[in-house]
Symmetry: C3
Subunit: 462 residues, 3 copies
């Protein structure tokens, strides 16, 4: 039987106090519904149907191409939502239907695997996920018979005192036989106080038919719904720790797993060292023996083997092998640092390539520039790439020595082996092997300090 998944994502999440639809809030750089989709894929779901409602367009737009959505225009209950999804999926009578919730980002494939495994000849109709918690207030309770079979779900507000004492809660995550589910949904009524169609009525219906459900207990984390900013922060902490521990298991050294922020899409090779205060956002990659951090923000960037980056911001850039960056560098965007090169302290690079072993050591801005191998850019050198109207390129050859505080007024090129004198403003191309200088004669006014001293004394006397 093929597995098809329905993900409930129609709720607004008003307790989030956010304009963003609830399931689009991110955990470790991935939307909550994205995490649930990933879990469904882990157990081989061949089709995934997301039921959208509040913020429907935004949620639908965020889904991968191969995930479908259907609209629950009115919030008529969970049973209604699944009905809509089944209609959109078409005939599921020979499928297993997973019903998932878009706001449980910590759910893992392993829990779903256990759920599907429990869905056996003793429990041909359905299985559900449950969890024990200390304080079940507000949750629906799982009711079992003497043999441990699930025979019902009772909502908190409807529970008797004996039922309230049950600490096993219903996670709202189910595996259903498609045929049985379809039949049961057809029989659902909204004959209750809220006038809604409840999916939990299906469970009671199965029990009434002598088709008890399997109830699989998992950790509460796996099924915890995120319903507030505090929940969201908690989920992020758990997920961050999970990602960090997973990397550590492969041999990555992490200074403190609670003080790194590693996105789900980041890959790090064994032997890398990640210090505290590092953020990897988007899709990053880190090679073996690299040392990243402390306090590095990296977004969609790659770091080569044995590269060293500390106290820096790196966006959309490629840091090569054995490259050194920082402390206090900003690779703004589109930067490529070839092997052995260095972007040092108070250095900003944008849309710039440094050749092998090239160095920009301090207080420099290079934008729209290429720097050849083994060249050295002096402190304070700047590419003047904007003329007030357009951006222009600077081309620096190999083995060039750019003197400190050289202004390179683009478009301009400096040939291989050339040099520029400190403090020069270079407006014309420099030929290979030449020294270019723009400078006046140094003059000296003897005794000038006396004037300053006199003014200081006058000021003090005022």
């Amino acid at each position: 039987m093929a597995v098809k998944a329905v993900i409930m994502a129609a709720g607004q999440g008003t307790r989030m106090k956010s304009d963003l639809p609830k399931v689009l809030h991110q955990v470790a750089g991935r939307s909550m519904v994205g995490w649930v989709i990933a879990a469904a894929r882990e157990v081989g779901a061949t089709r995934i149907m997301v039921v959208v409602g509040h913020g429907a367009d935004a949620v639908a737009a965020d889904l991968p191409d191969d995930v479908d959505s259907c609209l629950q225009a009115e919030q008529l209950g969970t049973g209604h939502a699944v009905q809509i999804a089944i209609e959109a999926l078409g005939d599921v009578s020979s499928d297993t239907v997973l019903v998932l919730s878009g706001d449980t980002p910590l759910l893992e494939g392993s829990s779903l695997k256990s759920l599907l495994a429990a869905f056996d000849h003793d429990h041909p109709a359905a299985a559900l996920l449950a969890a024990n918690i200390d304080d079940p207030t507000g949750y629906g309770r799982v009711l079992r018979d003497g043999a441990g079979q699930v025979i019902g779900i009772v909502e908190h507000k409807d529970a008797t005192d004996v039922q309230l004492a049950v600490t096993e809660i219903n996670a709202g995550i189910y595996a259903f036989d498609g045929k049985q589910l379809t039949l049961a949904l057809n029989d659902l009524t909204n004959d209750n106080a809220q006038g809604e169609y409840y999916l939990t009525d299906v469970v009671a219906s199965f029990a009434g038919q002598g088709l008890p459900m399997a109830g699989i207990r998992t950790d509460f984390d796996q099924v915890a719904g995120v319903n507030s900013q505090a929940h969201l922060a908690d989920a992020n902490q758990v997920m961050r720790r999970r990602i960090a521990l997973g990397l550590m298991e492969t041999g990555v050294w992490i200074q403190d797993p609670d003080q790194v922020f590693i996105s789900a899409e980041t890959s790090i090779e064994p032997g890398a060292h990640i210090f505290a205060g590092v953020h990897f956002v988007g899709r990053c990659a880190v090679g073996a023996d690299a040392q990243i951090g402390p306090d590095v923000f990296a977004d969609d960037s790659r770091f080569g083997q044995a590269s060293m980056v500390s106290y820096s911001v790196v966006r959309n850039s490629v840091v090569g092998e054995q490259v050194s960056v920082g402390p206090y560098a900003s690779l703004r965007s589109g930067v490529v640092l070839e092997a052995g090169s260095r972007a040092g302290t108070f250095v900003e690079l944008k849309n710039t390539r440094l050749g092998e072993r090239a160095t920009v050591a301090h207080l420099s801005y290079m934008g729209d520039a290429t720097v050849g191998a083994d060249s050295n850019i002096g402190a304070g050198a700047i590419t003047c790439n904007y003329d007030g109207v357009e951006k222009h390129a600077t081309e620096i050859g190999a083995r060039v020595l750019i003197g400190s505080d050289t202004m390179l007024v683009a478009p301009v090129s400096v040939g291989d082996d050339a040099m520029t004198g400190a403090g020069s403003t270079i407006t014309r191309n420099v030929a290979a092997g030449s020294l270019a200088v723009e400078r006046s004669a140094q003059r000296e006014i003897a005794g000038y300090a006396d004037r300053i001293g006199k003014r200081r004394r006058e000021k003090e006397e005022r």
Copy 2:
């Protein structure tokens, strides 16, 4: 009956190992005694009297104008301290007197409200706060009769084995009927080993008169006294989390509530995003949709709607709407960034105003300057505002383009639409619409690289 509060703040806190009087140590940017004062105000205390002793002048100086202090010159016990306070307050016979401790910063008004509510016709003389803790070693235990009435307090050192097994501790926080308290204090003696007047003897006295006290249990956090640097750090962690959760409840996104440091006086609007490593000190304000952090230190500063600030230090400044700051900017003091402006990377501003949409993108220092709307300050441009004796102002008009590495030797002005050439030192005012340049001719010495190459080879041969 009016509520008057006595706050005990005479102790030195020797375990703090600090020169600062204990109650002046800060929790989330507010002194410990300041937190207790705030709690007393929450329940409507009309007068607040702080009993000072060690570091009396420093503590008294730190109190708000409408809070009084009285001096306990000799440390003759808690009963003695309250006697002094009552003398300073005058007749309290028709008041309720709260006795609080200056070193319980986590106490909230809600606990005091419960305490005052318990102070009813069954308990006309007094009520106290208690807490259950796992290890009560060292604390005074609350003794109750069979009906649960508080009939005494026994200090740890005086307790019997049965009493030592009691895990309910006395927090030292009381509500008293002013008349009864006054009478009981008059009867206090120092007839004990320490020769001190104990406030706890008042409790025994009431019980002896058939006036049992109400004992209200609260969380230990609420009444935990801070007596060491470790306690202080713990209290800060709890308070920081409390503040963060409170903000999150309103819709503020906080990346990790354990890794932000938000002062009590800071306000943040829903929809703002606060990343890890952010410190808000003093009185800060953050608008909706602002993104602050990672790693921002802000002191007494405001951040407008949709502003974005990362990896920066901002002191006594105003960041307008949709302004971008950092990474790696320092707004040192007195900076105003108008809507849509930008202080970029390696930019330091001091006593400077940027007009709307003005940009100081990189490697720049602007001090005592005004920059008009839509102006662009090139990389490396600097206001030379100090002539060795005095600071001077720089005025830059609207739509100005300051070339890279321009030195603006103040006092100097640059008119609207004017420009300066890269690398120029500008010592005289520039007229509107003009280009000002200070530069020599670029010279080129062909074959200069050969000399360097020769020296390098010689060096290698040495």
Copy 3:
């Protein structure tokens, strides 16, 4: 009896997934085996013998000079390892032999002291350390008789169901009578499934001889072996907190003990303030009333009384009393800042000395320079210390004013009380009291803005 210590450090630690031998992984800046050596020294071990195996050379090279090592070439079991160590130590028949494990960095001398104290006339042969844990899976269990005497150790895989229920585990840390240990080792056989010599067989042997061991329970932390990157991170968290709490006990203020990284070799005086995000690496020292952090990385550096350092990196440098550093400064190496001096924002110093009250406030690089007392280095000033072949020195006298953006082309000197004009490139020495300037005349091209405006309009029309 003299105490001699054997430290087992032959294992590879494959679960670490690291090329580094397991015991060389660091906890708070000290190798794990280094921590165990320190604990052995605390209880007066006169000789320490480390049994090395995997990565033998690297481990041996890391040991202090007065610690010996011996090679276990083949991994033939713990009993075999101790045999080799005893052979290397020579006759231990009149000694007490501590057997320790190189991968328990959290072990403290206090636990060993208890162990040695338990080694008394009732337990003349041996004593061992044990700990109770919730989940003892995988650990050897301690077997005791009715009187509480240790009569054996059973490995997890060999344990009966009753033995598996024991939650007291063997830490693998022992004190032995040297004579008894030597005798028992001689009788050891490798007559078991693995063909190894087990040290735990010695315990059974003693029990068989009517020589029951003492079993001292300690906290699990004390004896927890580090066998994975996750364990290593946990041990670092515990140790960092232990170090922080120890400092706080003396009167150091620490903003958050979980968010500072203080090496074991760092000393901090009472009254110092350490903010979050501070890393002290190697041997650092901090004076009273200093304020370090947030976000400071310090390596082998000293910070004088009342110094203030924030958002900076400081390596191999000396920061004097009342010196201010940062935000955003890098003291790269070999920097000395004398009392009252200042290295401000976007300032990098290398191999440079600032005299008393000297200031380098912004956007400056000083390398291989000396700056005299009371001198002021303007924003953007740079020492051009590298001529493409060699580094040269810059000497700046006292009370000098270096103008903004001054390039000091080394070797060069500036005499006392001298000045340089903003934007000057100084290639020749400046005499005391003189003003040196390198500058052209400022020219102005009126109406230039029109050209730019025209190009902009043309661009917009394109």
